[in-house]
Every structure is written in structure tokens, then in C-alpha cells.
């Protein structure tokens, strides 16, 4: 799985970290998404899919 994030779209909801904290983090100053791992291991795939579905700004894209 390959993950991409769009920091311009991000609204700092924290939904990605809530669902997949091994793959996503937030910038301390404004909560904008930080991608920790653009090729997460298979055991993280479900969490990443949940993060994609939960992101209110549609700022995460994945290629399976």
C-alpha cells in the first residue's frame, strides 16, 4: 500500500491519528497531517483504510 496526504486540504481533525497512529501524526503548531510512513506494512492496511474513510477533508489517498 502506498499513502499520500494533501497538507493543503487537511483541516487538523486528528481522525487519521485516531485510526492509524503508526502511519500519521499531526504538526504540533497547527495539527496539520504529517505522514510517518508512506509504505505502511500490511498489518496497518485496515487502519489506514479507516483513516481514509474518516478524514473529513478527503486529504488522504491510497494505492493498494
Amino acid at each position: 500500500m502506498k499513502v499520500r496526504v494533501d497538507q493543503d486540504k487537511c483541516v487538523s481533525s486528528g481522525q487519521c491519528v485516531l485510526n492509524a497512529s503508526d502511519v500519521f501524526d499531526q504538526r504540533d503548531e497547527d495539527g496539520v497531517v504529517v505522514l510517518l510512513n508512506e509504505n505502511p506494512p500490511p498489518d496497518q492496511s485496515d487502519n489506514v483504510r479507516k483513516a481514509v474513510a474518516a478524514c473529513p477533508a478527503l486529504a488522504i489517498e491510497i494505492e493498494e
Binding site: V11, S13, G14, V17, L18, Q26, D30, P56, L58
Partner: protein, 417 residues
């Protein structure tokens, strides 16, 4: 209001007379359920026309899928200065050009700029770091309940003080002032506010926050209002804008969570098997899911999220024209049987509960949602752990519900144990 409504109705074409009035009443016998008329409308179509207080006929979205899609659609605006915007009430219309733009009323880049100024204290990790403080405040409130005479009121002794103390601390608002800001927030949240009443509430709080921002510009400390004051000093925003953003955080930060705690405790008392499951849960994931389901089941934000279309939008077989108002009501969407089978059942282990729209969706989704989650998880679980014999001290029919507020809940909740 009723008179004006019937005048409008008789002067319109007969086909328009069938357009139902919004907002709709809940059934007093099923106070947890969304208004039955809305559920019925949603069985037929996920969006339909309603008539609101000023006689206009915006779209009411009741379906889960359509709500989620429109929340995330950039052709849908929150700018309440636009022609066709379906205002909540007379007060909001009367003040539309007086209120500074804020995170609630701006779109696109302007919105992103405001939102990022507010997000720092509410990131997932910052909120995780607050859990022990929230736990401590919660335990103190429950100590106080256990030491007091029966019956005790859950609203004034737990539901209000926990989120109010937490948000006061985060914002740097002195907790001693809580009676003042709770009172003014209350006036401001009246569902059918006249221009005059709304103005009183809004002015009192705006003045309070303006003074606070000015004080923090001189003497900043480690809190969210100081962060805003710093931006004023840096010339990024005006004092008025900072005060408007601070007011939003203060009201949204205590009033919504407080209502969710009060009515959530009542829903759990009415579903003792679910309360027992939550009490006995040890896995934080189960406790978290329970809170998501309570959010889905109760959707306390009533009166609908207001929007206006800025281009024609084709959706679910209908065309929303540019300039037409859109009202997204969270409660019927969260009770949409196409998404949630047996929606009237409170099932704390429901596997898709986390996809509820209780915090809204799209770029305006609740800024403080991670804080609200942490507070609700801690409060519900701790309360039923520490007082397992908790029960209602009055007949259910006598519990006073907030039918007349923008945020639904209960005015008081007398309990015994």
C-alpha cells in the same frame, strides 16, 4: 411566528402548502429519537424541501450518504452573507453583517487559515496528554456527588463542570467566571432567539472575550487565548476576530459536551444492559466505540447545519440550484436505517458506530472532537464504575428535555444510588 407562517402559506401556490415546516418536533414519548416526521421523510427521499421561519424553502438533507457527500462538497458554502442562506433565526440574519468572519462562516482558504489558528490545543496527542487531568476533574466531581445529599443533579454536578473546567484551563479563561459565561452562552444558544435576546447574549460574551484577548496581548501565558492574542500582536487577525474565535471555542467547548454527558447518562440509565457493558469494559477500544454509538444515537446538535449551494448540484435524483439553502440535519442521518440497521437500538458494540455524523463531516467537522471524545470516554466509564447502583430519582416522564435549545440535552437529571 405562526401567524406570519400561515400568511405566507396562503399567499403561495397550493403545491407549496404541502412543504413541511422546519424545525420539526420530537415525539415527547420517544425523546431520544429524531423527530418522527423527519424519519418518515427520509424513508421516502434523502433530501426534500422544507419551509423555515422566514418563509423560504431550503433543502433538508435527512439521508446519511447525501449528508456526507454534501458536507465534503466544495460547491456547498457556509458563508451566511450569501443570498439564499437559510439562517437559524431572526437574530442570526439581523447580525450577519456585524459578526466578524470566523471558522464557522468562512470557506476554502479563509476557513483553513482560521481553523489552523484554533487547532493546536486539540490535536490527538495534546488531548491524550490531558487525559489524567480530565480524569482528576471527573473524580473530584463524582466525590462531590457521593458526598452530597440524594438526589443529586448530574447536569450541575458533573455534566457542566467537567468540560467547563477543562476548556477554561485550555483557553486561559478564569473558571471563577463560569457562571457568567455559561449564562451568556445559554442566551446565545436559544433555538428561536429573537434579534434582541440573541444580541444580549452575544454582546456580553464578545465584550468578555475582547477584554480577555487584550489582557493576554499584554500578559500572555500558555493557553489558547494567549495564542490568539499573539496573532493579534503579529497583525494576523484583529482583536474582534480573535474574540469571535475565542467565543466559539468557549461555547462549543463546554455546552455541547455538557449536553452530551447529561443526556448520555440518561440514555445509559434507560438501557441498563448497555450501561453494565460499558461499566465492565476494560479495553479502551470498547469504551471508545461506546462513546461513538452514544454520539450516533443522540446527535445532540439539533436545528441542522446550515449551508448554501454556490453552483447547481445533482444529487440523489434532485437538483439543488445555485443560491438554494441546504440544511443538513445530523439526527435523521445518524438514524438512517440504510447505514445503521435498527437505528433506534442503542448498541454500544455496533461495528460502524465510528462513522456517525455527530461531529459533522467535511472541512467544518468539529474542531474539538478529540477533546470531546476523551471527556466522554472518561466521564461515562468512571461514573458507572464508581456508582454502579446509579438510578434516576424521578419518573422518566418528568425529565426536562431541551427542545428549545440549539444543542439538545436535559436541563437537569436528578439521580440517586
Amino acid at each position: 411566528m405562526t401567524e406570519r407562517m400561515s400568511d405566507t402559506l396562503t399567499s403561495e401556490e397550493t403545491t407549496d402548502a404541502a412543504v413541511p415546516f422546519y424545525p420539526m418536533d420530537r415525539d415527547a414519548k420517544c425523546p431520544f429519537a429524531p423527530p418522527p416526521q423527519m424519519l418518515k421523510m427520509n424513508e421516502a427521499k434523502p433530501l426534500s424541501r422544507v419551509r423555515i421561519w422566514d418563509g423560504s424553502t431550503p433543502w433538508l438533507v435527512t439521508g446519511y450518504d447525501v449528508a456526507r457527500e454534501l458536507f465534503a462538497d466544495s460547491r456547498v458554502s457556509v458563508d451566511d452573507r450569501r443570498e439564499g442562506f437559510p439562517h437559524w433565526n431572526e437574530h442570526m440574519l439581523a447580525t450577519v453583517h456585524k459578526r466578524p468572519r470566523s471558522v464557522f462562516t468562512s470557506d476554502a482558504e479563509e476557513h483553513t487559515r482560521f481553523r489552523r489558528m484554533l487547532s493546536k490545543p486539540f490535536t490527538f496527542k495534546r488531548v491524550e496528554g490531558l487525559r489524567s487531568a480530565i480524569q482528576q476533574v471527573t473524580d473530584e466531581c463524582i466525590d462531590d456527588i457521593l458526598a452530597s445529599e440524594k438526589p443529586a443533579d448530574i447536569v450541575s454536578k458533573l455534566a457542566l463542570p467537567v468540560p467547563t473546567r477543562v476548556i477554561s484551563e485550555m483557553l486561559g479563561v478564569p473558571y471563577e467566571d463560569h457562571e457568567f459565561f455559561q449564562h451568556h452562552a445559554n442566551i446565545g444558544l436559544a433555538r428561536y432567539a429573537t434579534a434582541e435576546d440573541g444580541q444580549k447574549g452575544a454582546m456580553g460574551l464578545a465584550k468578555y472575550l475582547t477584554d480577555l484577548v487584550k489582557a493576554k496581548m499584554e500578559n500572555p501565558s500558555e493557553d489558547a487565548v494567549s495564542d490568539l492574542a499573539e496573532r493579534v500582536n503579529a497583525g494576523e487577525i484583529s482583536v474582534k476576530e480573535a474574540a469571535q474565535l475565542g467565543t466559539g471555542l468557549l461555547i462549543a467547548g463546554h455546552e455541547t459536551t455538557a449536553n452530551m454527558i447529561g443526556i448520555g447518562v440518561l440514555a445509559l440509565l434507560e438501557n441498563p444492559d448497555q450501561a453494565a457493558a460499558l461499566r465492565d469494559a476494560d479495553d479502551p477500544k470498547d469504551i471508545a466505540n461506546a462513546v461513538e454509538e452514544l454520539m450516533r444515537y443522540l446527535s445532540i446538535i439539533q436545528n441542522g447545519q446550515r449551508r448554501v449551494a454556490i453552483e447547481d448540484i445533482e444529487i440523489a435524483g434532485e437538483t439543488i440550484r445555485a443560491g438554494e439553502g441546504i440544511i443538513l440535519d445530523l439526527a435523521p442521518a445518524n438514524w438512517d436505517a440504510r447505514m445503521y440497521p435498527e437505528p433506534d437500538k442503542l448498541d454500544l458494540s455496533r461495528d460502524n458506530a465510528g462513522q456517525h455524523l455527530g461531529f459533522g463531516y467535511g472541512r467544518h467537522q468539529c474542531v474539538g472532537q478529540q477533546l470531546a471524545r476523551a471527556e466522554l470516554q472518561i466521564v461515562f466509564h468512571t461514573l458507572f464504575r464508581r456508582i454502579p447502583t446509579l438510578q434516576l430519582a424521578v419518573p422518566f416522564e418528568e425529565v426536562p428535555f431541551k427542545h428549545d435549545r440549539l444543542a439538545y440535552g436535559v436541563y437537569e437529571l436528578p439521580v440517586t444510588w
